[in-house]
Symmetry: C2
Subunit: 172 residues, 2 copies
DNA sequence: TTTTCCATGTAACTCGTTACATGATTTC
DNA sequence: GAAATCATGTAACGAGTTACATGGAAAA
């Protein structure tokens, strides 16, 4: 549902072809959102069948044919509905690769500290990548901003655990 | 993978039957983790076929038969591998029902504020539920602690957006 | 000239959920 | 006597991913 909302939202602003949609999301929203190429094409097909978008074929120069998608009235309606649904409810994230943290004691402290340091590096890298993401007009920034806050909270939490582990190591 | 790790981790501590595993996770880890009954049974079956757990049947009084699961040597090995994999890498969460936030401008500000207030309520409820969750020995607390931090970060972020929206409403 | 980008798809598969079925037993 | 709990499953479905195939055009 969420990926559909995303596609509808982008098409609300302007007509686009499949690759363009995928590419845009990848480039500018890739750090908060994940949409595979095949999923994009699949969803666009489906939404066409459902009457939410209409298709037209276009060619620029000698480039491959493009299927351009355009929101129908039903599609605009659909977008409004999905948007409201999405905004109105918070769905807590379960599982963010956290299960292991419930079993920290089953592993030697120094090794645990090592492994979590690797995890920390992933986090830091994600933050750096976020900062290097080209800015964007409008509400897209909300997503980026959110991701920054979320990653920083994650980092602070991880550091508090690492600290605990390291003090346990040194007191051995 | 993560749910398998969870089941293996619990079985590491003691033998348990399917319902018991499901029930334990639901009761004590339900706010951070989500495992449906049928998924639990399915995974236990699979892990038995893979040789990670052995089964034995038990009956207490007139209660229904129980299939009790016991970690094999291969299962203990598997647990250690999955645990290390899990700890070592951070996988950023994409999509937490956030897509709508990228299209906030497509909706009247006062309605947006309304919808986000509902979302806020969900968040607050989740926090309350968290506080009412029975405490637990060992590393389980790491998960709970994490969830608290995560929800609070989420709440702070949401409030900053609501504030912005409300000042926009009043300045109309 | 080899790699990357543009552009679209399909088939098979994995993971997990939904909805249903069963039946005894304890609790209200 | 009705409802909730204990205990296990299965069949169908859905969402999304992987891996693959195609083929020209631009960039290195």
């Amino acid at each position: 549902m969420e990926r559909e909302l995303l596609l509808l939202g982008l098409l609300q602003r302007q007509d686009m072809h499949g690759y363009q949609l995928y590419d845009f999301i990848e480039r500018y929203m890739g750090m908060c959102v994940d949409l595979k190429k095949s999923t994009a094409y699949y969803l666009l097909d489906k939404m066409a069948k459902d009457g939410f978008v209409s298709q037209s074929v276009e060619q620029v120069g000698n480039r491959p044919l493009r299927t351009v998608y355009h929101l129908t009235a039903a599609g605009k309606e659909r977008f409004q509905v999905l948007l409201r649904e999405n905004l109105a409810q918070y769905i807590p994230v379960r599982f963010g690769n956290l299960a292991g943290l419930a079993f920290l004691e089953e592993i030697p402290v120094d090794e645990a500290a090592d492994l979590l340091s690797q995890r920390r590096q992933d986090l830091v890298n994600a933050l750096i990548e976020l900062e290097n993401t080209p800015a964007h007009p409008g509400s897209f920034n909300n997503l980026v901003e959110h991701q920054v806050i979320y990653l920083k909270a994650e980092l602070a939490w991880l550091d508090s655990i690492l600290e605990r582990l390291e003090s346990a190591v040194s007191s051995q």
